[in-house]
């Protein structure tokens, strides 16, 4: 799905735990997520800390949308 959007000129920040798979398939802007069962969350953290963690992760994803990349890139 990421590649279809990109082919149409819309950059995609793809957050996934299986970042090596996304890399092989060829998504261009990949942000590793936390875990399979909570890709944009961390239940081991207290709720407020978890929200901060998620906010930082999404901020990274938004930054990826403004980052020029040459090809498949994992942005940690």
């Amino acid at each position: 799905m990421a590649k279809e959007f990109e082919a149409a000129g819309i950059p995609v920040a793809y957050i996934t735990t299986l970042d090596s798979l996304a890399q092989s398939v060829g998504a261009n802007r990949i942000i590793p997520g936390k875990a399979i069962v909570n890709v944009t969350g961390d239940p081991t953290l207290p709720p407020e800390d978890e929200r901060q963690y998620r906010k930082a992760l999404i901020a990274k994803a938004l930054e990826a949308l403004t980052t020029p990349v040459e090809g498949v890139t994992i942005l940690r």
Partner: protein, 348 residues
Amino acid sequence: MSTPRVVHYLNQFFAGIGAEAEADTPPGRKEGAAGPAIALQQALGDRARVVATVYCGDNYAVEREGALDEILALIAREQPDIVVAGPAFAAGRYGLTCGEVCARAQAQLGVTAVSGMHPNNPGADLYRTKVYLARTRDSALGMGEAIQAMARLALKLHAGERLGSPQAEGYLPTGQRTPYFAERTAAQRAVDMLLRKAHGEAYTTEWPVPEYHRVDPAPPIRDLSRARVAIVSSGGVVPRGNPDRLEAAYATKWLKYPIADLETLSPEQWQSVHGGFDTTNINQDPNRMVPLDALRALEKEGKFGALHDQLYTTTGNTAPIPTMRRFAQEILRDLQDAEVAGVVLTSA
């Protein structure tokens, strides 16, 4: 010559430990054959002996640094001659792990290694050029045939016998090219295929057009503070009760739901129906798959222009690539109409 020693690698489910709830199980070992390894031993007869069954939880294997090293260490201790992994059918995490276990067993231990999975398994295209993968059905209904195929391939490979074509031997094409003299020239075969196609008759391509293509990255957003951003997810997040009946696997549709008035996705009103992993954590807090609360917070701070007012959602579990491409093309029309400048996409 002594009987070849076999280690069978399984995930936590097939090893009999438990289902998704036990997907964090660390690597372990059982003496002799357990679970499908018993059927493997039967298929091998007296030509090889399953000395141990090594297992690991699907999540542990794909998430933890060093998990593969731990698994390989357990396998190596058994001094195997042959490693069999899976079959993984359509299970993505399992297929990826089986492929990697076999690839490392070959490279690091120098042993024969065989796995099995469905051609659509994410592990299939990644590993079929490195490891012989028996072609299986997409569910455990195909266990019997898969075990037979893996046993046969393992014994043949271990004996150094030459394998026939993928079609004849039941493995996924490895990309190897073996020259041979055909009875008819390529020109004759091509014209024959063209005539069949033109007459609407059945024909078999000699070479399927490969699916994975590279896409040039879209140019970055120049001014994020004015950009409209959309959230799209294949994590199966839907309103509680799944009113539009999104499937848990083999999705036939994508859905969109208005989120303009929402600051967050509450567990009372949303859930995930994704059938490929344990959705408990997401059902406690759906923002853990569709990060709406974070996007709203950043939108309020002016970090980006506006969050698009629809959530696009589907289930990526066992979804074939052509289907997901079609979904994306359909969603694209909405995005282009709304002049969405960028997408945050989430999946497991």
